[in-house]
Structures are given as C-alpha cells and as structure tokens.
Symmetry: C2
Subunit: 316 residues, 2 copies
Amino acid sequence: MIGLVNSEDGPRVTHALPLPTVLAEATLRLSVGGVCATDLEIAKGYMGFRGVMGHEWVGVVEAAPDPSWIGRRVVGDINCPCGACATCRAGRPTHCPHRTVLGIAGRDGAFSERFTLPVANLHAVPDGVSDEAAVFVEPLAAALEILEQIHVRPSDRVVVLGTGRLGQLCARVLALTGAEVTGVGRDATRLGMLPRGVKRARPEELATSAADIVVDSTGAPEGLELATRLVRPRGTVVLKTTVHDPAPQLPTPWVIDEIHLVGSRCGPFDPALRLLASGAVDPTPLITGRYPLERADEALAAAARREHVKVLIAGM
Amino acid sequence: MIGLVNSEDGPRVTHALPLPTVLAEATLRLSVGGVCATDLEIAKGYMGFRGVMGHEWVGVVEAAPDPSWIGRRVVGDINCPCGACATCRAGRPTHCPHRTVLGIAGRDGAFSERFTLPVANLHAVPDGVSDEAAVFVEPLAAALEILEQIHVRPSDRVVVLGTGRLGQLCARVLALTGAEVTGVGRDATRLGMLPRGVKRARPEELATSAADIVVDSTGAPEGLELATRLVRPRGTVVLKTTVHDPAPQLPTPWVIDEIHLVGSRCGPFDPALRLLASGAVDPTPLITGRYPLERADEALAAAARREHVKVLIAGM
C-alpha cells in the first residue's frame, strides 16, 4: 500500500508498505490527512522519528476488536499510553513515559492507506461535520488545551503570535471567551484570514508589557523572546512552539516580572468536535491546498511554503 | 555618615555619606541588616546598580511625616511604586515600571546609618519578634510569594533546590503546607540546617520527573535545567534564581511535558511577620556571621563564602 515515510533521506512516498496488523487495535482507512508544522519539523529531524508520517486525520474504521465501530467515520487521539504506569494512573495518560505517538514517536502515522490505533483513542465524527472540517480536530484540540490549562477572562487582552496553522485556530478558540484577541504576523494574507472580531497587528505595532496572555504559536525559535517582551508583569505566556532548533532563552525577565510560562501540547477531542458541530469554529477557510496520498511528499513541500496555511492529503 | 556603597570599583565602606533627606518619607536608623544573594549579584554588576547597598533590614523610625511612627521598630517593603500608573492601579505595585527598589534600583539602600522609605512601605515589628528574626522578613516574604502564586497541596511532593539563604526559608515555608518537602544541596552542613520534617538529598539521589513542584533557589545558572529534569509532566517549576550571568535554557521540554514555570520575586510582609511572631518559622539558626556596619564590605565577602548562610550587619 501507499504511504508517506520519513526515511534517512527525508520524506518519501512509498508504494510497498505492508498492511498494518495489530489485533487489539482498530484498522483505519485514511479519508483526509492534514499537514502540521510538527510534520515539517519531523522532516528536519525533530523527535528523531522514522516511519509513516502524519497525525492529523479523519478516516473510516475498517476492522476493530469491537465490531460496532466498523464503518464509522472517526478521528483519534494521537497519544497511545500504556495505561498502567504511575503517570497514567495519576490521570495524565498523554504524558505516559511509555507512550507511542501516531506519526511522531514509536508508531507509524496516518499518511498511508491503512493504519491502526487503539479503539480507546477513537471519537466518532458527528454527521454534520465534514471530513475537511474533522481533519482539524487534532490541532483544534491543541488550541483548546490552552483553555484546559489557564483561566482566560473575558476582560483579558490576549495576543496570539503567529498566523499559521495553529495560530489561526488558537485565535479562533480564544476569541470565543470574549477576550480582546490580537493575532500577530507579518503576512497580510494570513492576517486577513483571522476571523471577524480578532484584531490584527504586525509585531512592531504592539506595546511592550501590555498583554495579559501571550500565546507563542509562531513555530519559530524567536517567538518566546517576543512573547516575553509583550506580556505584562505577572502575565502568562503559553508555549506552543516546538522546533528542531529551539533558541536558548534567558530566564531573568521571567523572575523579575513574575511571568507564568505554560508549556501546552495536545488537547481534548470532544470539545473540538462540539465546536465544529455547532459552527462556533469553522477552520475550512484555512485550507489552501489539496494533494492525493500518492503526492503526499509534494503536500509536505507545499505546506512549508508561505503561501500555504493548511494543506490536506486525500486518502485513496 | 557610614554606609556600604557599590561603586565603580565594587562595594566600599564610605564614611562621608550625606544624610538622606526626602521630606515625604520616613527616615530610618538601621538596627540590623542582612546580606542576600542579590547583594552579591549586584556587586558583580546585576541590575547595574550604583549607590548604597542593602534591602534586608530592621530599623527604628527617626523622623516621619506622620509622627505616630517615630520611635517604632519597623521593617519595610523594598519596592517603591509610583502609585499612579496602570500597573499600580491594576493592583501590581511591586511591578510598577517607574518603581525604585531599596538598594537595588534607583534608590539608596539600607546598609548605612540612616536611609529613607515611604511611610506606606513600613510594617511595625511585633514586640515578641527580635531584631535578628525581623531582619529575615524580606526573604521570608519572598519565600511566601510562592504560596501567593501557586496552590501547594498537602499531598504534593515538593523539591527545593539550594540550601542557601533563600532555599532554607522556602523549605521552611513549604513544609508548613504538609507537603513532602525535600531540600537539595551538596553541602552536608547546610543540608543539616534544614528543619525537622524536611527530607534532605543530594541532586544525584533524586528521581527524574518525580516532583509535583520544584523550586529553583540555587542562585546558580544551572538550577533551572536541573529543575526541568526533576519535575513531573504538568508539574510546576518556581523560578527564584536571579543571577548576573544566567544560563540560556531550551524551551522544548517545557512544551512537550506541559510544564508550568512561575517567576517569583518579592512577597507579602504581614504573613511573614505573623509566622515569625507565632514561632512557626525560626530563621535565626541560619545566622552564621555578624559584622558592624563599618565592616559591611567584609560582611559581603563573608556571605560569598560557602561556610556562611546568613551574614548580618549591625547598625551603629
């Protein structure tokens, strides 16, 4: 079968992949995949991952230990915890030290015709949510993780750095709180993609020490330094950027200004599905490219270019 | 009059200081001063401060716009905010961008025979609290700031890195929550100074990713990296270290493990006075040296040596 493999020589579409067979897991057929900044970092060497790429997807269950799942349209949590260790039992399965992560660590990903995940990871997609919306569930959940971690008040001034894939979703979710949200970037087209009600600014237009909350979703090594400059004393910086070559940071301003920093990663799928089903968040205007699975390597290359926000990969 | 001045050539005892005169402020006579790690950093160039050093002190009011203060034994908040700007009006006066800080920024400090502070900064010392206990109010308040900022649960595992001046006080305050507190250092004498009920460990004896909360009060550039290694996923690292030459940090593990980092600086004086008055915290066993004001530069040099924890300076 066909799949996009991160090999020693970088991402390659391979035609001779063996069918995945893990009896305790569901076998999934890819409907639509989404290319994420993490995929681009993995192609550069982040996490040292080798194997089938991809962790944003919507698909159909072809086989499952519980047959009631068969034929259903699903998305799925990408972290596969052991379920037995102290971290799992403490209620933090997404941080299980023994976990595998779909297309990121120890487990082949979704950019292939068939792949597997534990049934416990699956979430049925409501009928009213299209495949092209459902493929955003994983990054939308990552944006919602901010609201799982910190209390955003309706009166807060929130700055979202980065108008790319994740920044756009963070701005949408944070604006739902009623807070004054400013999306920050340099690209006029991407600034124009921010939804109504979200203010737009270039980095140099922002006052220093004026934001209650700053989200660094730049995906760039210099994002955290800018966030530190923009946040007010005792404000909060949310760290969303993971890059292969992070920039070292000097901690002194965080101590003097008593800044809170919060690392933020994967989030809850069910609230993301609810917001897509209600229409409160519509991510589909962010789609700028579509490629068939056989040209998934081109999809990856396209996603790295500035004119693209979200590039999708269609299953076979 | 006599005072310890941080000059171009480093800290010097000066005999020809003019008397301070700020009519709207109280004039204070130093009873006892305490040397802090921040003083040692200032001597190295931290904050670029030039002038009379010292911000840990207990003294007597000699003159004040409100005469009811005259003759009273007092301690005082070291931050002098403008009281009028947006930050002050938002209830964060210790972060006022126009503030001066006693012996640290824009204002002569306490290591001189007389100095001044706004009356609003003063706190009367209860009769049952000795001068040698009261001089610890400022660093004890800084330790209490941790509990102002984060919720420490009785069931938490807390690690305090550093058994120096501030680490000792942090361990004492955190142990009052009922949490399992481990003080970490390399010096057997300082480990022995940790109070009953606080566990003691060397850094290499600690399990990685096992602490709910880690306080970096090492005062050393490498403390934050160790704290990052010891804290569990979604745990909290409290940043207490400010050094002239901080070590750059790579943010990636904070994102992946969703760590909370909280910069922590000055704290509330009234709770510190209450804990000294009740006897719940007794800092006086930490006193390892006493110098007269005329030899305040020797006090500073002594405080930099490993055999000393808290070095005091006696007023004239």
